[in-house]
Symmetry: C2
Subunit: 478 residues, 2 copies
């Protein structure tokens, strides 16, 4: 499957024309926002608003019915009440539409017999006409590169290598928005809800095939065809990192799953075995998923688990060492030569030189000393990679402070580029508005310099440990 | 000890005059920043810069020597090289100073015989003259109410009920800065470093006694007199919540501790037993400490562990249920009457009504429906408290969106005030600068309305579970 030249889902992700059924000029309607998303991102193709009055929307000519559109339509978004959906699917069949994204909810996920039947009815109609369905009860496809953006989540066509497959629409938007702020760039995202036709296995298979996607993230609540899912996941994880957040691992979570997307959640033990067997990597939250995707996007894999930590402040260094060991990393004592070298450039006072290096201290840091410190640490044969910890709030009071901070991150970027040792930066911020503004600026500079940035050392340690775990797995299976 | 009228440490926290030895006009010197902190916060008393040239600092008359100051000095901050400290302590003895905060490091924490001896020498001189020492190698006392602020961490004398005892100076600043942003207000903070004279037990005892402090937070790396520490902790935790972050629980962390403050860290098992025995509450990070202190500051204790969750987005609701159960909370199914009531006001589509309530949906929420939803949930006899989850980023595109968000938080504040059910809000933000600005505004409105605000449901669940755990403990022991 994975080596074939064409994947049938690829054309669903690359429509040349889109109609939004339920798009009206009324901004309280979801259909308006789906349409607006396409307009704002200048979708690379034709778009058509369809509504009861045939009203124009945002300057685009409106139609009363899909069949009235005088051109082929590849992709249809449906945002109208559930009971009106079957009729629209019939129109889609008549029009030769390839794929329909049904945003509308109120189908099988309610658990009601009449609504389950309604969903079956839709599928029956669609299958007759070779129309595929994404959903219902979902946000459909985001493909920023071509300007397919739901609800205006993306503000530019800037794209990247992270894909996201999700049973939840809300999580898809959250992941995209939070990920963008932290520096992730996306190939394609898809929220598939009730999976009445196209399901998690289909999308996972497509993302494994898709050359634009280098890292696959997924939010899964449950699967209907376990055997196929395991097979697809196994193949995907051998090709690229697959990071999974499993929703519904507790009793309450499982109950919430059933009223959310109406699938069986599966036990914790079953999923643990699945992660172990396939090499897919489990995370506990969207934030952890973003942290890990950042590591895969921006960091080469360290040759081992031994980290050198250059931090500032003894308390922070102690916590750093704790968090690293808990995450399964090793914080080795430096070689004697490194310690001697560090002692020469750092004052005796207030500085640990054994690892972590609690140095140099003070509000302004002398850059040559900082550079020497970094160089000594990454050159130590005990060390596979570097965590550099900087406190934003110490350096934002004057323009000179901020200049010093920039010089420090420049030194990090330089060491990363010149010596090739993997580096992650931890920029600690109080989250005051000013501090956060500076964080975002420095984060973006680090990312451009090839260094992923974390909010806490705990986050960095978890992410890099799982990065290494994945490459260890890959080495075993290939 | 705890019922006595006066605690001897109280005068150390309330000096009427302060001299900073090492305060000079040079902003690259730590002494300058200690002095500036006092000036900026308008310390309620006299302040004197002491430096080699007797230079004035920031308009305040400078002196060459403490003994030259023509008035009594209660509190001295020392920020000069280690080898010059003993002479200054002699001056302090001569001047009748009550307490000296030694910022300078390079003493016993280095592990060097000559430096250990230097620290002993200082203590010997101080004890002869009945001068007490905080440190060395620490940030000393912060008491915002009287304007005693190190390094300008506080920008106003606004104060509150949270105290912090810390072996680490860096953590003290981080905790204060991060806590302020999140809405904590502080009684007193102290960083005591090497604890050569006054130690963690002394400060814990004082904070237990201090009526300004209602919640005690502590960062501890290790203790020298375990038996006394346990006794003091036990008494403190019976009087007020004591939240402890223990640094150095892993091998690497322990090694970092010894080069940070030179004490024995103690094993994980020993500390677990200590938490169990005393009722002090363990947290894993400063962020978790802030989350928990917020719950104690802003929330009455729920009568049980059963939470009603009103969220938006099915994926978020599933994660919510998972996180609550993992944290030891219970997410019960609502009573049939509640479910029926919710079904009447929420559309069938896209909404769970069993708990969590995935409702109401849409960019703009109808406020009367939201209020009815909240009322039904908190009135359910199954429910002890409420988590309300709102996504900031859905409501920041237009002024009307932001108005709707404000109306939603107003509804939360109203339900909290009118029905008395404990409420915590989870305001989900992408952390984009605009989203974060709106978060901070809404957070502050919620806090004023008596509702603690969390960044994620996981954080909220952990905090409230530990809040309940503490009150359960208090009920058992009293």
């Amino acid at each position: 499957m994975l080596i074939k030249e064409r994947h049938e889902l690829d054309e669903f992700f690359n429509p040349r024309s889109i109609a939004v059924v339920g798009a009206s000029p009324d901004p309280t309607k979801a259909g308006y926002h789906f349409f607006r998303g396409l307009v704002e991102l200048k979708f690379d193709g034709d778009i058509y608003p369809i509504n009861l009055n045939g009203s124009d929307v945002l300057g685009f000519k409106g139609y009363r019915n899909l069949r009235d559109v005088p051109a082929p339509i590849d992709y249809v978004i449906i945002a109208i009440p559930a009971y009106e959906v079957p009729k629209i699917i019939e129109d889609c069949v008549a029009k030769g539409v390839k794929v329909v994204h049904i945003f509308t909810s109120g189908f099988s996920e309610t658990g009601r017999a009449d609504r389950i039947k309604l969903e079956s009815q839709i599928i029956e109609i669609a299958r007759k006409g070779n129309v595929h369905i994404i959903g219902p009860n979902c946000m459909g496809i985001y493909h920023p590169k071509i300007g397919l953006s739901n609800f205006g989540v993306f503000s530019s066509k800037e794209n990247g290598s992270v894909g996201f497959v999700s049973q939840s629409g809300g999580n898809t938007g959250d992941f995209a928005r939070m990920g963008l702020v932290r520096g992730l760039r996306f190939s394609k995202l898809v929220s598939y809800g009730n999976a009445s036709d196209l399901n998690g296995s289909d999308f996972m298979e497509y993302f494994a095939w898709d050359s634009e996607t280098k890292i696959i993230c997924a939010y899964i609540e449950g699967v209907k065809d376990g055997r196929r899912f395991v097979k697809v996941l196994k193949e995907a994880a051998r090709l690229k990192p697959v990071i999974i957040l499993k929703g519904g691992l507790t009793e309450a979570g499982t109950r919430a799953v059933s009223s959310h997307t109406g699938v069986l959640a599966g036990s914790d033990a079953v999923w643990n075995a699945l992660f172990h067997q396939t090499g897919a990597i489990q995370v506990g939250s969207l934030r952890e998923m973003i942290d890990l995707a950042l590591a895969f996007s921006h960091m080469s894999c360290p040759k081992g688990r031994r980290v050198g930590i250059v931090g500032i402040g003894g308390g922070a260094s102690v916590a750093a060492a704790d968090f690293c060991e808990k995450a399964g990393l090793v914080v080795p004592r430096f070689m004697e030569d490194t310690i001697k070298g560090l002692e020469k450039i750092t004052p005796v006072a207030g500085t640990g030189v054994k690892n972590p290096v609690d140095s140099p201290v003070g509000r302004r840091v002398a850059i040559p000393e900082y550079e020497k410190t970094l160089k000594l640490v990454v050159s130590d044969p005990q060390i596979n990679f570097l965590f550099a910890h900087l406190t934003i709030d110490w350096r934002i009071h004057t323009p000179e402070d901020i200049k010093n901070l920039k010089d420090l991150t420049d030194a990090l970027i330089h060491i990363n580029k010149s010596l090739g040792t993997p580096v992650a930066a931890i920029l600690r911020s109080s989250l005051s508005l000013h501090s956060w503004q500076v964080f975002l600026e420095e984060q973006n500079r680090c990312l451009e310099g090839g260094i992923p940035v974390y909010l806490t050392l705990e986050d960095a340690a978890k992410a890099v440990s799982k990065l290494i775990q994945y490459y260890e797995f890959r080495e075993r299976v290939t």
